[in-house]
Amino acid sequence: MTPLLDISGVSIEFKTDNGPFKALDNVNLKIVEGEYVSLIGHSGCGKSTVLNIVAGLLQATTGGVVLDGKEVNEPGPERAVVFQNHSLLPWLSAYQNVELAVKQVFRGRKSRAEMKEWIEHNLHLVHMDHAMHKRPNEISGGMKQRVGIARALAMQPKVLLMDEPFGALDALTRAHLQDSLMEIQRELNNTVIMITHDVDEAVLLSDRIVMMTNGPAATIGEILTVDLERPRHRLELAEDHRYNHFRQEVLRFLYEKQRKVDESPRAPAAPKGQPSGRAGTPAAAAVVTTLHKKNVA
């Protein structure tokens, strides 16, 4: 099967005051249509950078990304992004936020009525029918992220990019959203690349888990194929020995092979011009701490 998305030989260097900083080195990944791929790794390892290169928000220094036979060199709606902190326009309602994207993508292709139906359909998919005319500051964090997902889905992307979509949410809300996302995936079977810090999330949602080595010059360390049958149910899986095996594989990679040593001299701070570089933010640090706790347990 020819891959839908081909990331080949991607390296990127950022200019910093202390000379060039190589964030990624020779990243190679092929993703077929309908595949759900997670990128996992310690904070600062360049997961977001990979995603931003696929999104076209950053340009690789060497190597490149080919989507459906065409090289990626600028952002576009066929690679819709779900950002970590929802990034909805705060002055627009949920409906209007999705509408902005739909009008932009389907201009001239859908009639006004079709657009309305399409917007409502996508908000329905994420269970936001009841609050579609509310503004972001009137709804909860989980609901904002739902709208963010609806906006991305409404662009009918060839590949859906999610940058820690549930990272800022509490554990219960996160579980709800993961379930919703699996339900949507059953229906739409999108090709997805998702960045996560959460081992359970990665195993539960993914077909393959791409584990990245620590930066600088981060690259892909191992790839784990998660061949659990779908639909998956978190309660049943908790008892499943294969599920636990996959979890342990990821944990072993993160905490034995790629153990992050805190005493080591810090990598240079997030280089300038890197969009939404969150390496080392409190939120990211908190998630890493949770990982540690889980590991101990």
């Binding site: 999104a55 928000l57 819709a80 992004v81 990034s87 705060p90 500051n137």
Partner: protein, 335 residues
């Protein structure tokens, strides 16, 4: 909770008091809402009365609140009298024309001459308001687009920033002679649409009130979050769409902060400009009274001071109301 949704916040303690909902707390709230401001004003008036009595000036004792109130009444009466005189003046001309027409049906009616009485206090208020709004509008029309341009382009910002920093602290008194001379030289017309004095005042107000809006707009535009800019890129919005759909709405709260500051500056600057340049308006009224030096002058000046303050306050409240109505960020507005 149901109550707070249905009744305005100001009335809420009353409603709760009537319902017998924790009367102690409600009375306390009412005291803070109404009692303390009244107490503050009463204390101020007492200090004013006693303080003013201690000061002997060349024009007699400094007037206290009572004398000032009396002068406010006088100013009103003068305004009414002046209006009646003007009314009578036009009335006479119409009557004369009618009479002339009755004597000779072919006679052409004489053109009605305008009334040229001295502008009253209220006329001056009107003039000042029109002038300040013109200057403020002109400043906003220049400052908002320029601020957006500066905010969007780091290069333009570097080029313009030093100029902004240098011109921002310039006092209106320094601009005024320059503006007056330049307007006199450039704005020459036999039948000018606007009086020269008006143009001078408007331009001075504009030059001084431009900066807060300019700076705040630029800051608002530069602080549009990187994520929103990325959304715009992913959607492939054109430059115009990006400005119209993302940048402009995102910076509306900051633009309004700037506009409020600008309007406050504009009003202060205008009074100073009118005073110095003898341009019609409240400033000129104050200056005329100062030159007049009658026993009533001090009281009248104080009336003007209070009215200037009151109008400034009302202008600010109007901007605030407009901001509440237009801006999406209701949290940013506190007082």
């Amino acid at each position: 909770m149901a109550i707070s949704i249905q009744t305005p916040a100001l009335l809420e303690p009353w409603v709760r008091l009537l319902r017998g909902d924790r009367p102690g707390t409600q009375l306390n709230l009412l005291f803070r809402q109404i009692g303390l401001p009244i107490l503050g004003i009463a204390l101020f008036l007492m200090f004013w009365q006693t303080g003013a009595n201690q000061v002997d000036t060349s024009l007699g004792k400094l007037p206290g609140p009572a004398e000032v109130w009396e002068q406010a009444g006088n100013l009103r009466a003068e305004h009414v009298a002046e209006r009646e005189r003007a009314e009578a003046f036009y009335q006479r001309q119409h009557e004369r024309n009618a009479q002339r027409l009755a004597e000779n049906p072919d006679a052409k009616p004489r053109p009605i001459r305008g009334y040229t009485g001295k502008p009253t206090f209220f006329d001056q208020i009107g003039t000042s308001l029109v002038t300040v709004m013109s200057g403020f509008a002109l400043a906003s029309v220049i400052a908002i687009p320029l601020g957006i341009a500066i905010g969007l382009s780091a290069l333009l910002y570097s080029a313009v920033n030093p100029l902004v920093q240098i011109f921002k602290p310039v006092s209106p008194l320094a601009w005024l002679p320059l503006v007056t001379i330049v307007v006199a030289a450039v704005y020459t017309s036999d039948d000018p649409l606007f009086a020269k004095s008006y143009v001078v005042s408007v331009l001075t107000v504009m030059l001084c009130s431009l900066w807060p809006t300019l700076i705040n707009t630029a800051v608002g535009v530069t602080s549009v979050s990187a994520d929103l800019n990325n959304v715009s890129k992913v959607l492939r919005l054109t430059w115009m769409e990006h400005v119209r759909k993302i940048v402009l709405p995102a910076s509306v709260p900051m633009i309004f902060t700037g506009l409020r500051l600008s309007l406050g500056t504009a009003w202060m600057v205008l009074i100073a400009a009118e005073m110095l340049a003898q341009n019609p308006g409240l400033g000129k009224f104050v200056w005329d009274e100062f030159q007049n030096g009658s026993s009533q002058s001090l009281g009248r000046i104080m009336v003007a001071v209070l009215v200037i303050g009151l109008i400034g306050y009302v202008l600010d409240r109007c901007m605030l109301a407009l901001q509440r109505w237009v801006s999406w960020d209701k949290d940013a507005i506190t007082r």
